[in-house]
């Protein structure tokens, strides 16, 4: 169930250039069941900034009633968030949306590929944890802009083979995640991905015939399906009036379900 809670800051860590990892504690964690869901965070008190910010759940520690999110402090909201200190509270609404279907990876043989780009990487971490716990063999391909922006390489490596690429070639492989995937020369029956729309499109073009699950990003108002801000066209009806809401039908869709 969706709840609203002032959650306690357990830790706030800068883990790369402008990238922060925030650990929060509260009852709301007991509602978090699926990797790939997100929370809607009010970064400041008062009306400036006004709207909540959607941030993926990157790690769930159910026993401690804690979860982590990893975010880039860029605009006013996320910058304010990055100033929260231990013991302060953060107004969180969530969990929201439908995440990655973990079951889809069971019994398909082969390794499960997780592809992340930039701030699309975080939700893959909880996903990878769960897949690994279920005995799936996971492999991660993570793309970043530049060396300074790379995060969580070690954390992912502990769960499975991990390849990092940077757009400017300053770290790991050079180029895009799709280049790296090709270089792996392996057939992945199930792929999960989260990242910029261009990356998702490229993946869909190449691997759309596989079991490919994509987590989308869109500007949001409510985050709960009420305002129609975040809709996309259903693939079955590209110019018509049928639609999906990224916030409540997604953010994860099977490739081919919606128009990217």
């Amino acid at each position: 169930m969706i709840k609203n809670e002032n959650m306690r800051v357990i830790s706030q860590r800068k883990i790369a250039k402008t990238i922060y990892e925030l650990t929060l504690e509260g009852e709301l964690v007991s509602e978090m069941h699926q990797p790939g869901q997100f929370v809607h965070v009010k970064a400041g008190s008062g009306f400036d900034p006004l709207l909540r910010r959607p941030i993926s759940i990157s790690s769930i520690m159910a026993e401690e009633k804690q979860f982590k999110m990893i975010y880039r402090a860029e605009g006013r909201g996320t910058q304010l968030l990055s100033q929260k200190n231990n013991g302060e509270s953060v107004d969180v609404l969530g969990p929201l949306g439908n995440g990655f279907p973990v079951e889809a990876a069971y019994g398909n043989g082969g390794r499960v590929l997780l592809v992340g780009g930039g701030i699309g990487v975080p939700p893959l971490f909880e996903l990878s944890k769960r897949l690994s716990a279920k005995g799936c063999s996971v492999i991660h391909v993570l793309g970043f802009q530049s060396k300074d922006n790379v995060f969580y390489e070690e954390e992912f490596s502990r769960l499975g083979e991990t390849y990092v690429v940077t757009a400017d070639g300053s770290y790991g492989g050079a180029g895009f995640v799709t280049d790296m995937i090709k270089r792996l020369e392996e057939d992945f029956p199930v792929i999960y991905a989260c990242g910029p729309t261009l990356m998702l499109r490229a993946l869909e073009a190449e691997y759309g015939h596989k079991k490919l699950y994509l987590s989308l990003e869109e500007r949001m108002g409510c985050g709960i399906g009420a305002c129609f801000a975040c809709v996309c066209h259903s693939a079955a009806d590209p110019d018509g009036h049928s639609y999906k809401k990224v916030c409540s039908d997604g953010p994860v869709f099977r490739a081919g379900e919606v128009i990217l």
Binding site: M1, R219, M220, G221, F228
Partner: protein, 313 residues
């Protein structure tokens, strides 16, 4: 003591607080979060004769203490709304105010005729103020004659009282208000959004795909208060006030200005529990301020004696 029960044309309200159209969908999402029976009423998303997809995304942008939206009246169309959405809402004991829109007067009439037959639709809200569609919408709401004639046309076919939703994007809102009163409106709802725009600093292009959008939220509250203050002194039909309401204090301010009920829009996105919270706080605030009933607040900024038996349930 019930300090909140409010009667308005067609509407017997437990309390005068309701979500504003377009900010609450058709109630489904919120129904999982709290009991919709707590609400005074629900203003559902604008309904058009045929389904509409609306505008391309991005459709929203944040502004200082406000937001822009250009949803473009996306909705599943009259028949689906009547079957699925009104059907779903029928299990609640909450009057529905159906927001109706269209490109032509005929569209308004069609939706009004049909949707006003629904059992739980107790009033219509005639949306002649949507700034985000090419045809219809705001064009009907900026000229007094046009506003009057579409009001009259809808009144002729509606089974329930008709409230007309006014646009703030006009030189003289009183003139429009009086015109729709003349046209037979049973009440007014105001204000819809102010037309605004934001440009992306990197690309130079509008942040929302539609270019312009409607500005809502706390930023516009002073404009709403001013317009309700002005109009309420010059019409004799009740006003449902809206524009930036986010707290019980805000509700009282709108009543002082001249509103007899209020709607909460954008604040639902910031805090989805805002409506029940306000409804819970209002009696306490009224008590603190020394009012026996919220109707005593209506028009207090300009009336000698603000109490009107009429609005009080």
């Amino acid at each position: 003591m019930n300090r909140l029960a409010t009667n308005l044309p067609g509407l017997q309200l437990k309390n005068p607080v309701m979500p504003a159209s377009g900010c609450f969908g058709f109630g489904r999402e919120f129904s999982g979060m709290y009991d919709l029976n707590k609400l005074g009423a629900i203003m559902i998303k604008a309904t058009t004769p045929k389904p509409r997809f609306g505008n391309p995304t991005p459709r929203v942008a944040e502004t200082s203490a406000g937001m822009l939206n250009a949803i473009g009246l996306q909705n599943p169309g009259l028949s689906k709304v009547m079957e699925d959405e009104l059907g779903f809402l029928d299990k609640y004991d909450v009057p529905i105010i159906a927001n109706i829109a269209g490109s032509l007067v005929e569209d308004y009439k069609e939706v009004a005729r049909e949707i006003s037959k629904a059992r739980n639709v107790k009033a219509l809200e005639l949306n002649i103020s949507c700034p985000n569609v090419k045809e219809g919408g705001i064009a009907f709401g900026t000229d007094p004659q046009t506003a009057k004639s579409v009001t009259r046309a809808v009144k002729e076919v509606s089974q329930v009282p008709v409230y007309v939703k006014l646009s703030p994007n006009v030189t003289n809102i009183t003139e429009i208000a009086k015109a729709v009163e003349d046209g037979g409106a049973d009440g007014l709802t105001m204000i819809n959004t102010l037309l605004g725009m934001r440009l992306d600093i990197k690309t130079g292009k509008p942040v929302i795909a539609n270019g312009t959008g409607g500005l809502s939220g706390p930023a516009i509250k002073p404009v709403a208060i001013r317009m309700i203050h002005e109009v309420s002194q010059r019409v004799s039909i009740p006003i449902i006030g809206m524009g930036g309401i986010a707290s019980a204090e805000d509700v009282i301010e709108f009543f002082y200005a001249g509103a007899s009920a209020v709607a909460v829009g954008t604040a639902n996105f910031v805090d989805p529990f805002v409506c029940p919270k306000i409804i819970e706080e209002l009696p306490l605030l009224l008590e603190k301020l020394g009012y026996g009933h919220i109707a005593e607040c209506t028009g207090r900024s300009w009336k000698k004696n603000a109490q009107t038996a009429y609005h009080r349930a």
